[in-house]
């Protein structure tokens, strides 16, 4: 009875898995398939994706990570041909490098009902030294047609056993069948970190393996005796741990607008080395918890030591802060000092490259050099300052403790009044106004006692944009007026970057052309360099045909060119969170003076709406007062990140907003 059931199960799995995934065994059915049954819009699909990564001992060389890759891909349309070119990145470091061996690849086509295979020859394989740290092996498959199936297999040998490439389970095309294995001897302990929307859990197994070690033993060399070297071979049995994944019918991962980094949602598993325990050696810890990660980073000479150095700046900082009385005053002076003297070389990093001292001397440095220097200086004058580790937007969100999880560091001052975050690599930044690249969920603060905790990076304070406009509308539909905008926080930061880094005449031309051609006079900007104040832009302008004059009536939407013309959300549905980067508040105040001889016939109704959970709000008020009309519009987005469950609400909200702002005022001739 039991036997029968087992047999039934087995045969069942055979039926559902009728494909043969042996290399070279491409079937006619696979070649004939016209569309992916998983996704008819797919230009290509992985029919089978196999990867086995294991750790191997090599005599005289030590441990290697060996990865076998075998992939079978169906190309449905010409757009899918991109998947027939593969690039393999190979790390290089200190005379050691990763290598690809045993590459074999074939293209299969159906010609006159017969399967014809074309082999990838040497002339389709290319090796490049991309830079000091990276080689690349590329190949491109021969003889492709719509409907071709390609297959390739190769092995990557890597001496960097602490670095296991992530296992990725989801791509821009669907995957029909996936099999992945990771095997390690007991000497290595890896932590398994799954990520992505589509969660996977590995199956685990325990087995055994054997290593032959070669030991070199020296003896003798004492009184009168010669030195002898003997070699002894020791065979060691070990326990082998295996994790494997077997997945089918994985949908494609499609990118969407307003997503900060699609990799955050890609289904994958990361293997992080937490410790090694070689025979007759002490445990060596890498990282398993955030505390370990913090400790490893802090203990690194390119972090902790660099943070403790003070000698190189003491004299100058002493002189700098002499006049200052309060600690916050000192902090402000130091922050400005670092920003203005040490320039960012555009390299990210939680570790220093050349060290803080060198960076101070040469006046340039990477992120770690600049912000660790800043932290050290703040501490030196007595502030409670600490580094905060960050994962930038393009690095993804660190969901589990890994060293690579962080790639950036900033400074934080903790005081009873609250926390102030500082990044001195950003010229236009101010306290708590961090560059957009760093606004990525949470960071981790490391205190002097090496304890750590999470730190919310998203700004609490809203960026404000207050815009005041006074216009005279003429009876031919033209406008003359003045406009003033005052921006704070991130809005100010973004404005300053654009304004300061553009040639003045060019900036004006761009501004004039932004709304389809206005003529600007008396343009002025205040506080573009005084970051402690909001930045203010003001000018006078004139524009033609901003209202429709039909018979004896004039029609116009009262915000004129300022109105929102397009709904930014166009997709019918959405799966991933919507990222606004920072909360904001926009306020328009517009006064329209009517042309002489006209009176208001009708004006839009005032309106107000709110997003669910107080995520945002819109208020639209207007009032006709004889010869003029006053309009006040308030738009608030209260959260930096909005869950996709509110997508429909958000889309409807913006649709309504665009509609409301386009409603017309009608004037008639008296």
């Amino acid at each position: 009875m039991k036997f029968k059931i087992l047999l039934f199960l087995l045969s069942n799995s055979f039926i559902s898995n009728g494909q043969n995934y042996k290399f070279g065994k491409v079937s006619e059915e696979e070649l004939m398939e016209k569309l992916s049954p998983l996704d008819s819009s797919a230009s290509a699909a992985y029919l089978y994706k196999y990867r086995r990564t294991h750790i191997e001992y090599r005599r005289g060389q030590g441990f290697y990570i060996v990865t076998d890759v075998y992939e079978r891909i169906k190309l449905y349309t010409k757009e899918g041909f991109d998947y027939a070119t593969k690039s393999i990145n190979l790390h290089v470091s200190n005379n050691e490098d990763e290598e690809v061996i045993g590459l074999r690849a074939y293209t299969y086509n159906l010609e006159n009902d017969k399967i014809v295979e074309t082999k990838l020859e040497k002339d389709g394989i290319f090796e490049t030294q991309e830079s000091k740290y990276r080689n690349q092996q590329k190949f491109t498959m021969p003889n492709l047609k719509e409907g071709s199936v390609i297959e390739y297999k190769y092995t990557i040998n890597s001496p960097f056993y602490w670095n296991v490439e992530d296992f990725e389970f989801q791509h821009a095309i669907p995957i029909k069948e996936l099999y992945a294995v990771f095997e390690t001897p007991e000497y290595f302990n890896f932590k398994i970190n799954p990520k992505g929307f589509l969660r996977v859990t590995p199956k685990q197994e325990r087995g055994s393996g054997k290593i032959l070690f070669s030991n070199k033993v020296r003896s003798g060399g004492g009184l009168g005796g010669a030195t002898r070297t003997t070699y002894s071979n020791i065979s060691v049995d070990f326990v082998k741990y295996t994790t494997y994944y077997n997945l089918s019918d994985i949908p494609a991962l499609k990118d969407e607008p307003f997503v900060n980094n699609i990799n955050n949602y890609r289904s994958a598993v990361n293997y992080e080395l937490s410790f090694t325990n070689f025979p007759q050696s002490p445990y060596k810890y890498y990282s398993t918890t955030w505390e370990d990660v913090v400790k490893t980073i802090y203990d690194s000479s390119a972090f902790g030591n660099e943070l403790e150095k003070t000698g190189y700046f003491e004299d100058e900082i002493d002189a700098l802060v002499t006049g200052a009385s309060s600690p916050m005053e000192k902090a402000a002076l130091i922050y400005d000092f670092v920003k203005s003297t040490v320039k960012w070389n555009r390299y990210y990093g939680k570790y220093t490259d050349d060290g803080v001292k060198k960076a101070y001397q040469t006046k340039t440095g990477n992120v770690a050099e600049i912000n660790l220097m800043l932290t050290a200086m703040l501490r030196y004058v007595g502030l409670n300052a600490n580094p905060v580790l960050i994962s930038t937007r393009n690095n993804g969100i660190p969901l589990f403790p890994t060293l690579d999880g962080y790639n950036y560091v900033i400074a934080a001052i903790e005081s009873p009044e609250g926390v102030i975050l500082l990044d001195a690599t950003n010229e236009y930044g101010t306290p708590n106004v961090l560059p957009l690249r760093t606004l990525n969920w949470e960071g981790r603060i490391i205190r002097e006692d090496k304890s750590s905790s999470t730190m919310d990076l998203y700004p609490k304070q809203k960026s404000q944009d207050k815009l005041t406009m006074m216009v005279n509308l003429s009876s031919n539909g033209g406008l003359q007026g003045s406009l003033r905008s005052i921006k704070t926080n991130h809005d100010a930061m973004i404005y300053r970057k654009r304004y300061v880094e553009t040639d003045h005449d060019q900036y004006l031309e761009n501004l004039e052309n932004k709304y389809g051609g206005m003529e600007i006079e008396e343009f002025s900007v205040k506080n573009e360099n005084d970051l402690s104040k909001p930045v203010m832009e003001s000018y006078k302008f004139s524009m033609e045909s901003q209202a429709d004059v039909i018979d004896d009536k004039i029609y116009f939407s009262p915000l004129f060119f300022l109105r929102s013309k397009e709904n930014p959300f166009k997709l019918e549905k959405r799966e991933f969170p919507i990222d606004f980067s920072y909360p904001s508040s926009t306020k328009y105040m517009v006064i329209v003076n009517l042309p002489e001889g006209y009176k208001v016939e009708s004006i839009p109704e005032p309106a107000a709406m709110v997003l669910p959970e107080n995520l945002g709000s819109f208020k639209y008020n207007l009032e006709a007062r004889g010869t003029n009309i006053q309009i006040i519009v308030d738009t608030e987005i209260n959260e930096a990140i909005i869950s996709p469950i509110y997508y429909d609400a958000l889309k409807a909200y913006f649709s309504k907003l665009v509609e409301k702002e386009s409603e017309q005022i009608v004037l008639t001739k008296v």
């Binding site: 074309t118 030294q129 060019q506 033609e544 997709l571 509609e659 386009s662």
Partner: protein, 637 residues
Amino acid sequence: MQAKYLLKFLLLFVLLEGFSQNNYYSSLTIPAKLDEYANAVVRSYDTEISLTSTDEMHIKRKRIVTILNKKGNSNVDAYVHYDNNVKIISLEALVYNHYGALIKKIKKKDFKDESAVDGGTLYSDSRVKYLEYTPISYPYTIEFVCEISTKNTAFIPPFNPLTDSYVGVESSSYSISYPESITIRKKEKNLEGCDIQKEEGHGQINYKVKNIEAFKPEDYSPPVFDIAPKVLFASQQFTLEGVAAEVLDWNSFGHWMYRDLIANTYDLPESTINLVKDLVKNETNDIDKAKKIYQYVQDKVRYISVQVGIGGWKPFNASEVDRLGYGDCKALTNYTRALLMAVGVESNYTVVYAGSSQRSLESDFAAMQGNHVILNIPSLEENIWLECTSQKLPFGFIGDFTDDRDVLVITPEGGKIEHTKKYAAEENTQHIKGEYVISSDGGIEAKANIISKGIQYDDKYWLETEVERDLDLNYKKRWKYINTVTIDKIALKNDKSSIAFEENIDFHASNYTKKAGDRMLLTVNALNRNTHVPDRYKTRKYPLKIKRGFIDEDDVKITLPEDYEVESLPNNILVENKFGSYKAEFIKQNDSMVVYKRKWVVNDGEFPKEDYDDFRSFFKDVSRYDNSKIALIKTQL
């Protein structure tokens, strides 16, 4: 006496140094006007070329550039390309501060070294060394000194003082020396109005130019290569990747290319020859045969760029493309030619500058030029041009990638300059037949049939293979002026034989009209509104150039809501000017139906800069007319 002379000489030398050199390092000495619209100013750029033999050339460059702001960092241009035939002899960069004091020295070994494969190329053996420098304040000045030697003499760098936009040039010099056995040809371009000095001696030519204001690109202006001063050089005797050649004119140039680079690549396997012969056996004329072959190529091969050694200049053998099923533009063009040869159809390998800017080869200066290869099929009526890297374009259609420009056609008898197909305004058409219904709550329901030809076909044919989600987004963007539009139907037809792209689209949106009390304002042009107005310039500097013309014709039936009536209809519009014409008609059929007819014609052409404002007004007016509204008023019951 001698000492005195020496002293004088030294003094003179010091003075010269003081004048000619040091003042380039400080940003304070930039002559007025050169920093207008400039992110950087080239203070002095000296290029010394010495051609010692037909296979040995030394190039020495010294470039001092002051960077005025962050955007100028991309104009540091301290890099050098090299490969197996190019040796870097010396390389150094020096950084000076605002006042001209030396603050940093970067040696050859501190330059970054990377593979120079660009995005579109799978592999190339070219590498690049470049300077990576973080400025600590602006302005700053970089002096870049580089010397290389190369065995390739087919390309002699031109004297090209103005290469980038937004960069002023204070001084730029060029000298070339060569032995008597070598003949150097040269061509001067756009030197009128430049402060230029020229010296020509025995085996030596020198140029020097001073004070060129920054080039600021303007909408609808001629491209920089039509404006910038330039002197081109070529050696009559040269070597390319070890192959020696002698070239006098385009004819001999074509001859050389055909003989040394192309002629011996035709080694198609017998099986393929038989296959294509069989393929065209029922075709009677060359054009129909060529169509069959082109389709065969499009189905069989794809574009992959691999550039190694002489392969950077010479196409892959036809047999290789046949086996691999891929190649770059040279390989795919030549493969197509090989197949056409096999079926007895004449065609020619053709060198061109690709890109929408319609750059022509210098028709009177034979030298290595161009960046792309297409195929020419000579025909009594009109030349046919084939883009062999595309798997989608219809036969004989080249679009804006290689249209309307001078190209080099290489025949076994030699080279000759020809002009590619020009797409005139009357060929670049878009015809919309549409109808829409306005509901009494202001919603719109529309159906549009859109047929595009010529360059307008080129703008749209790629939609055929887009996935549904992206198509949906594409049409929402096309009608972005309609708030929250929903696309209900998308049916596309790519008619490759008549080269017409047909779109049948249905969409709807609520609140299309603007409501004001009892009135509803209906913007009549719902399907094809012009939203583009060229930028305005306080003082237009360059002439106006409209590269390609077009004609848009719209014919739309509008059904009005029952409970509204027309209060006022816009006046018909007719505009005609030297740039084209615009016509809009609003015809009331009955109480509930209005017919809207619109025709907009823009012609290609070149006009003096004084015409730019009128041209801009034309677009602005069209955009305004396209916003013409019908005022509807609720029917009084």
